[in-house]
């Protein structure tokens, strides 16, 4: 039954992804002109002479003389074969442009998520069990600061103080000599050294949000009768808390997985620009600005695919973890 459920869910993903791809393609093609016209205009503005014959050749090569519907199918069938297209700006296949950055992005995001969880969980539990205490107020205040201060501002402040106090420039994710080098132990160590600042900055907002969510969920659950029942059995408070209210408060956590997967890849764009991180965020923004359509489109499709997969994973996990979802029937009126 679980297998047939998963199968059905995967079937539903097909129309979802199809509609998403149409939307992405339409939105990217909405602005006037295409990448080549933007490029020619830019070159002429700089007083250079554009090689029109080459532009014409490229246009023909990539089917820009054909109607949009035809180009759409060309793009989509390419995606299905695993061909993400060609980036005009970088003059490389999209796969090669994204490749290295994707890995770095995943590393940053992964550590950010771990950081968020490690910080948010104990604080959320503490805030909920010590509601309205000084500790609760203090931690809530700090959390709200993290939520309210814009990330890029936080990034600038960190840049400034890191430079004054540690005398280091923390821009970038790796030391410059490792850029475009294959992953090695030395490169990995360099990444770790640079990692903590973006992790804290990007994690700050998420942590605060998660603390508030966990606190609110847990406070609700702590009022519930079954928690009193557990304590009336003689369970020590910590054990009772972990087995019952915390377990129930986890549900929202699992349903969050759907949001986490795409954010692992997209990263925090603006912070990445300020800190000049070599992640995928700045790449996407630049690609959208210059109408580098295959790079932008394929990347967005990849994100939507991850979102759909994330929701599927969290649905399956919820069904396995919560018997109410697994066993209760649905009534039709």
């Amino acid at each position: 039954m679980l297998l047939s459920y998963i199968f059905k869910r995967i079937l539903v993903m097909i129309p979802t992804l199809f509609i998403t791809s149409v939307l992405i393609f339409t939105v990217i093609n909405l602005p006037e002109g295409d990448y080549f016209e933007t490029m020619v205009a830019e070159m002429q503005a700089q007083g250079e002479k554009a090689d029109m014959s080459r532009v014409e050749f490229l246009k023909k090569e990539y089917g820009f003389d054909k109607p949009p519907v035809e180009r759409y199918f060309w793009w989509v069938t390419g995606l299905l074969r695993g061909d993400m297209g060609y980036s005009f700006e970088y003059q490389l296949p999209v796969r090669d442009v994204v490749g290295d950055r994707l890995l770095l992005t995943m590393i940053v995001s992964f550590f950010t998520i771990i950081f968020t969880w490690i910080v948010a969980f104990p604080i959320g539990i503490y805030s909920a069990t010590h509601q309205y205490s000084w500790g609760d107020y203090g931690l809530t205040f700090i959390g709200l600061l993290g939520l309210a201060v814009p990330h890029f501002l936080l990034a600038l402040i960190f840049l400034y103080f890191a430079n004054i106090w540690f005398g280091t420039s923390i821009g970038g994710l790796v030391d410059p000599q490792y850029l475009n080098q294959p992953m090695s132990w030395a490169k990995f160590k360099s990444v770790l050294e640079h990692l903590w600042i973006p992790v804290i900055i990007i994690g700050a907002g998420g942590t605060a949000g998660m603390i508030r969510k966990l606190r609110a969920n847990l406070l609700d659950e702590l009022q519930k009768q079954y928690y009193v029942t557990a304590r009336a059995k003689g369970l020590p408070p910590g054990k009772a808390l972990r087995k019952y209210p915390l377990r129930m408060a986890l549900n929202f956590f699992i349903s969050d997985i759907g949001d986490i997967l795409p954010s692992i890849v997209s990263g925090a764009e603006i912070v990445a620009i300020v800190l000049s991180l070599q992640t995928t965020g700045p790449l996407l923004i630049r690609a959208l600005q210059s109408q580098d359509m295959y790079l932008a489109g394929s990347f967005l499709m990849f994100l939507s695919f991850l979102t759909v997969i994330g929701v599927l994973i969290s649905d399956i996990a919820l069904a396995i973890l919560d018997p109410r979802i697994r066993l209760q029937g649905t009534a039709t009126k």
Binding site: M1, L2, Y5, K224, Q225, Y226, V228, T229, A230, R231, A232, K233, G234, L235, P236, P237, K243, Y244, R247, M248, A319, L321, D322, P323, R324, I325, R326, L327, Q328, G329, T330, A331, T332, K333
Partner: protein
């Protein structure tokens, strides 16, 4: 020997910096193996005392004086003062669940929905009596069998939401008693259950008490339950003990005026025609409500009933998709071929246990749920309409004639609207008068339901449950409806407030000539309010009779079982606990053949026994003889 002795116990709460005593010097004792009932209204401090005994007071509360002495019969001579134990220390945790068990009012929410019953019971057992798993499992299954699970091995792996309310409370009992405690605290254990299930659970508690020799502290507001269960009674009011003594003394020779008043405030079956309930605290006096504007000259037959329900069917299809098993589709018939009339100006009572379809029926009449088939004719003297065929603007114009009063006075009022807005909303929706007229109407409504006009700018949260229900009644009256459906209007209220609201409804009915459909599971309340009573079971009306006939000469086995399960606040009429059928009164297998629905045989029909007394039985069956 006394298991528990409470001496001069004081409990204070600090809220927003204000200290307030909620329990003010309480003394009582619980003898070993006996049942002591702690009786009082909500807010009297009875639940707080039980929390103090368990060491589970909320953070804002603390024992400020006195002692709670616990003498464990297993350890002779040892006396523990629970009041002095640290709140989360090992000593108090060993007592909790080990020597003192507790069950609660809401069996749904007191069990975790994501752990199996067996898991939760085993946890209590392993905590106090560690043992190897197979041994524990055998012990738990034996306990589950003892509390009435037919297949304990399967029940072990059930989740609480897969069980009915009665079975959940049985599982709670199994959990509280698995360590064989010396004292069981039962906080309103049967208040949320139907009467027949209540009788079964009380019976089970008495049997287990006899077997295990434990003492029971029974906390309740229901004097009927007290009379049937308690050896000793303690009456508490505002944190002080009004009266205490043996059940004999309390019921035969009540001394304190509060107890006498409490006995008079609860409706019972022996009330004389026209006798009024006496509320504990008389509500503020109100002038009689203005009678309804005289109806337009009658052109049609005056005797036509106001509402005629004919052959209404409603089925729900439930698709239970078990994740790891086979999905099944089952059809539940919520309302099955229901027909009845409501005469102008009468109060028709509709009783039945939870799940019998009475709420679905009320929703069908309100057009909130669309039935599969049937007809509902509404005749207000001017025109006659079929409610079910009304559409769009017609339906909107019809709505004011039919209004509803809900069960839960908290959730049925929007917390973000003032009383003025709440009462004015229906007038605004149906464009009755201009602003000034609407305000005047709202003020008049407040007078009608006995509320001060100065309350109009307040929000619902600043009112008590009884006052909120008055607001709900005023809202239902705002549009001068012909028929008001009252869905369990007093079941969420305390005895004393209940008496006030019932009296208010009665007065309003007399003064304004209202017609009520009064839905309740409480037979005594229906007996007080209704002129005729319809009894519903498994989606069908099984018996319909004038009030007096139904209570003195019931014919249908279901009605009889319901009546027999109601506990009286009278020592001379104790419940016969063993009468209740295992599956509750609605279990058709225990009905005599003449009443049993038979898919192959003749369909059941309503037999007329004369004087408006109808009963659902096999055509041709001599039900008089059976009665």
């Amino acid at each position: 020997m006394n298991i528990l002795e409470i001496n001069d116990l004081r409990i204070g709460f600090t809220i927003h910096g204000f200290a307030r005593d909620v329990v003010k010097g309480v003394d009582f004792r619980i003898p070993a193996g006996r049942t002591v009932a702690l009786v009082g209204e909500s807010g009297s401090g009875k639940s707080v005392i039980s929390q103090a005994i368990m060491g589970l007071l909320p953070r804002a509360g603390a024992v400020t004086g006195g002692s709670i002495l616990f003498r464990d019969p297993q350890e002779k001579g040892a006396v523990i003062d629970i009041a002095t134990l640290p709140a989360e220390g090992k000593e108090i945790r060993d007592l909790r669940g080990g020597r003192i068990g507790m069950i609660f009012q809401e069996p749904m929410s007191s069990l975790s929905p994501v752990h199996t019953i067996g898991n939760q019971i085993e946890e209590a057992l392993q905590l106090h009596r560690p043992m190897p798993k197979p041994e524990a499992r055998a012990l738990i299954e034996a306990m589950l069998k003892r509390v009435g699970f037919k297949d304990p091995a399967r029940a072990y792996d059930f989740y609480s939401f897969e069980l009915s309310g009665g079975l959940r409370q049985r599982a709670m009992l199994a959990m509280a008693l698995i360590c064989q405690p010396a004292l069981l605290i039962a906080d309103e254990p049967t208040t949320a259950l139907d009467v027949t299930i209540q009788a079964q659970v009380l019976d089970l508690m008495r049997d287990l008490q006899a077997e295990m020799g434990m003492a029971i502290l029974l906390i309740t507001h229901d004097l009927g339950v007290v009379a049937n269960m308690a050896d000793e009674v303690v009456v508490i009011y505002h944190g002080e003990i009004m009266e205490s003594g043996s059940a004999e003394d309390i019921f035969r020779r009540p001394q304190h005026p509060y107890l006498k008043a409490l006995l008079k405030a609860s409706p019972h079956f022996d009330m004389q025609e026209g006798e009024r309930l006496v509320a504990l605290r008389e509500a503020r006096p109100r002038a009689p409500a203005t009678p309804k504007p005289a109806p337009a000259p009658q052109s049609r037959d005056q005797r036509a009933p106001l509402l005629a329900v004919r052959n209404v069917h409603k089925t729900y299809t439930t698709h239970s998709s078990r994740f790891f098993g086979k999905g099944t589709t089952s059809t539940v018939t919520a309302v099955n071929d229901v027909s009845f009339d409501i005469e102008r100006g009468e109060c028709l009572g509709l009783v039945g246990e939870s799940g019998c379809g009475k709420t679905t029926l009320s929703k069908v009449i309100m057009r909130a749920v669309t039935p599969d088939s049937g007809q509902i004719r509404f005749d207000d003297g001017k025109d006659c309409v079929d409610i079910l065929s009304l559409q769009g603007e017609e339906l909107r114009r019809f709505r004011p004639k039919l209004q509803m009063i809900f069960q839960d006075p908290v959730s049925s009022l929007s917390p973000r609207m003032t009383v003025m807005n709440i009462l004015r909303e229906p007038l605004v929706i149906h464009e009755r008068g201009d602003g000034a007229e609407q305000t005047a109407r709202v003020k008049a409504l407040m007078d009608d339901v006995g509320l001060d006009q100065r309350f109009l700018s307040r929000y619902p949260h600043s009112f008590s449950g009884g006052q909120r229900q008055r607001i709900g009644i005023a809202r239902a009256l705002a549009l001068d409806p012909e028929l008001i459906i009252c869905d369990e209007p007093v079941s969420a209220l305390d005895v004393s407030v209940q008496a006030q609201i019932l009296n208010l409804l009665k007065d309003l009915q007399a003064e304004r000539g209202l017609t009520f459909l009064f839905i309740s599971h409480n037979l005594a309340v229906v007996n007080y309010m209704a002129d005729r009573i319809a009894v519903m079971a498994n989606g069908r009306i099984v018996e319909l009779a004038p009030r007096h006939t139904l209570f003195t000469a019931p014919v249908h086995p279901y009605t009889k079982a319901l009546l027999k399960s109601v506990p009286f606040a009278d020592l001379d009429r104790k419940l016969d606990f063993k009468l209740a059928a295992p599956g509750g009164a609605s279990d058709t297998r225990h009905w005599p053949a003449s009443f049993k629905p038979d898919p192959e045989g003749e369909a059941l029909a309503h037999l007329d026994l004369g004087a408006g007394h109808l009963v659902l039985a096999k055509p041709g069956a001599d039900v008089r003889e059976l009665a």
